[in-house]
């Protein structure tokens, strides 16, 4: 047709050609999202490592320590590792421990209960009917209580949303501090110190980042540029001053408007 280049002309609008600038920002956005995903993956693998590590606890199984009175070093390790868990990760940990033939409670060294053969359901001594699988997760009822006490303190929020928050603390059921020996106390203090150190490090790095003007990994792109602009409010003041000046003719105003009647007509009518 008339088109000189010989190519048929499309009826569609020209697509917007990406300029160098938008390409640059697109790249930045892509990199930002990639780092976020990588961060998540790192956290997930870290949690998996914790699960595998904790599935073989307790490390100290000698006589004075038991699930009721676990070794302080194990307690501090357990607390440090379980902090990032979601309840589902904790369930995975219990299952993994059961595969290793241990009680589901991480600080218990006893093997899990084997109720022998039989059907899917089991009658407990208290007269309840429970699933055999549930019963065989633990070595005893008290360990189940201890394990679930930890589980309810875990947070449903995804790990990457609270990885930086230092204030998550996990308590154990009936932690009794009156009977511990001097050595135990120092070990426990050491564990607490370790947690404190982590918190302090997190706080320091946050402060340093703020000082440098670097934002955290999550907040760097989510910002919207805001410019505050004062709104000029002037309109009603003019009216007020007019009214002030002409207050002798107030009675002639109808809705703030003064009707103008030519003076000659007024005289004629008189």
């Amino acid at each position: 047709m008339a088109n000189q280049s010989g190519r048929p002309k499309g009826i569609l609008k020209d697509s917007i050609t990406p300029s160098g600038d938008s390409k640059q920002t697109a790249r930045e956005i892509a990199i930002h999202h990639a780092t976020l995903l990588q961060h998540r993956k790192d956290l997930e693998s870290q949690i998996l490592d914790s699960v595998i590590l904790l599935s073989e606890y307790p490390l100290v199984r000698e006589a004075p320590y038991s699930s009721a009175n676990p070794a302080p070093s194990d307690v501090s390790d357990f607390k440090a590792n379980v902090r990032l868990f979601q309840p589902s990760d904790y369930d995975d940990l219990i299952e993994e421990r059961n595969v290793n033939d241990l009680c589901g409670y991480t600080l218990c060294a006893r093997p899990r209960r084997q109720t022998g053969g039989g059907g899917e359901w089991k009658l407990t001594s208290s007269g309840e009917i429970v699933k055999r699988k549930e019963l065989e997760k633990w070595c005893s009822q008290i360990c189940a209580r201890r394990a679930l006490f930890v589980k309810v303190q875990l947070n449903e929020t995804a790990a990457w949303e609270r990885a930086g928050i230092p204030d998550i603390q996990i308590d154990l059921l009936d932690e009794d501090k009156s009977t511990e020996t001097e050595a135990d106390r120092t070990a426990r203090k050491l564990g607490e110190l370790k947690l404190d150190d982590q918190r302090q490090a997190a706080r320091d790095s946050a402060a340093l980042a703020m000082e440098r003007g670097v934002n955290g990994i999550t907040s760097s792109m989510d910002k919207v540029k805001i410019t505050l602009k004062e709104k000029d409010v002037t309109a009603p003041s003019e009216m007020a001053s007019q009214v002030g000046n002409a207050n002798t003719e107030d009675h002639l105003l109808i809705d703030g408007h003064k009707a103008k009647i030519p003076e000659e007509e007024m005289k004629d009518s008189e």
Binding site: E44, S45, L48, V51, I52, S55, D91, D92, L93, E95, E96, N98, V99, N100
Partner: protein
């Protein structure tokens, strides 16, 4: 024929394992590894002779085999030569299949299997278990993915070969050149193809990797045959 089998639990177990054993062989053969015809179509009697103890129980330790990829499979899995990489190596290798006997599967057993597979230079490992893996074990499979592809099948899922069902159409894996030609022919980007999940039963059967394309050939009442394509995601 079924009537003259001794009707007890032992022989049931043998028959189950024989069927799973056959399905695994068919699966490996369908992926175009080199397997002899009589290895795939083993009869129950021969299976009993070769893999059973004298007392009639299956010797599970013997239920394992390996296979090498055939020439056509190697060609299919070789990336096209480029100027920077004039002599590409195929990204598939020998396969190792093992029936595992453990009653429970944790990270430990998986690591052991993965270690065996990798240290013997197998590129793919298939483990057939009769209990599901623990969640942590399943997650830990991803960590060895770039060394060897570990696939896990339940014995129960292998009792029948799903691709022989009349409602399952034929799935054919496309080679890289065929995929490029397809995208060119229809002027598509990869993402514009319909998708198939990696955990789809047929995708698992064929051991699809992310980015591979399968051609699905269906019987059509109007057209005789109808081909559609799916990208594995």
């Amino acid at each position: 024929m079924i009537d003259d089998l001794p009707n007890d639990a032992k022989s049931k177990e043998v028959v189950r394992l024989w069927r799973a054993w056959r399905t695994v062989h068919e699966m490996v053969a369908d992926r175009e590894y080199e397997l002899a015809e009589d290895e795939v179509n083993i009869s129950l009697d021969r299976f009993r002779d070769e893999y059973c103890h004298p007392d009639g129980t299956v010797n599970r330790a013997k239920l394992q085999f390996s296979a090498r990829p055939s020439d056509s499979m190697l060609r299919k899995n070789t990336p096209p030569a480029t100027p920077s990489n004039p002599d590409p190596v195929p990204d598939c290798g020998p396969i190792w299949v093992e029936f595992l006997t453990d009653k429970q599967f944790g990270v430990g057993q998986i690591r052991q299997f993965a270690k065996y597979t990798i240290s013997n230079n197998y590129k793919t490992g298939i483990m057939v278990t009769h209990v599901p893996l623990s969640p942590a074990a399943r997650k830990s499979l991803a960590s060895v993915e770039n060394l060897a592809k570990i696939e896990c099948f339940l014995e129960d899922d292998l009792l029948v070969n799903i691709t022989h069902h009349e409602l399952v159409p034929r799935h054919v894996l496309l080679s890289r050149e065929e995929k490029i030609a397809l995208l060119k022919r229809y002027r598509l980007k990869e993402t514009q193809l319909p998708r198939i999940l990696q955990k789809d039963p047929v995708a698992r059967y064929l051991g699809l990797k992310r980015g591979q394309v399968v051609k699905i050939i269906r019987i059509s009442e109007t057209a005789g045959r109808y081909a559609s394509y799916r990208l594995c995601v």
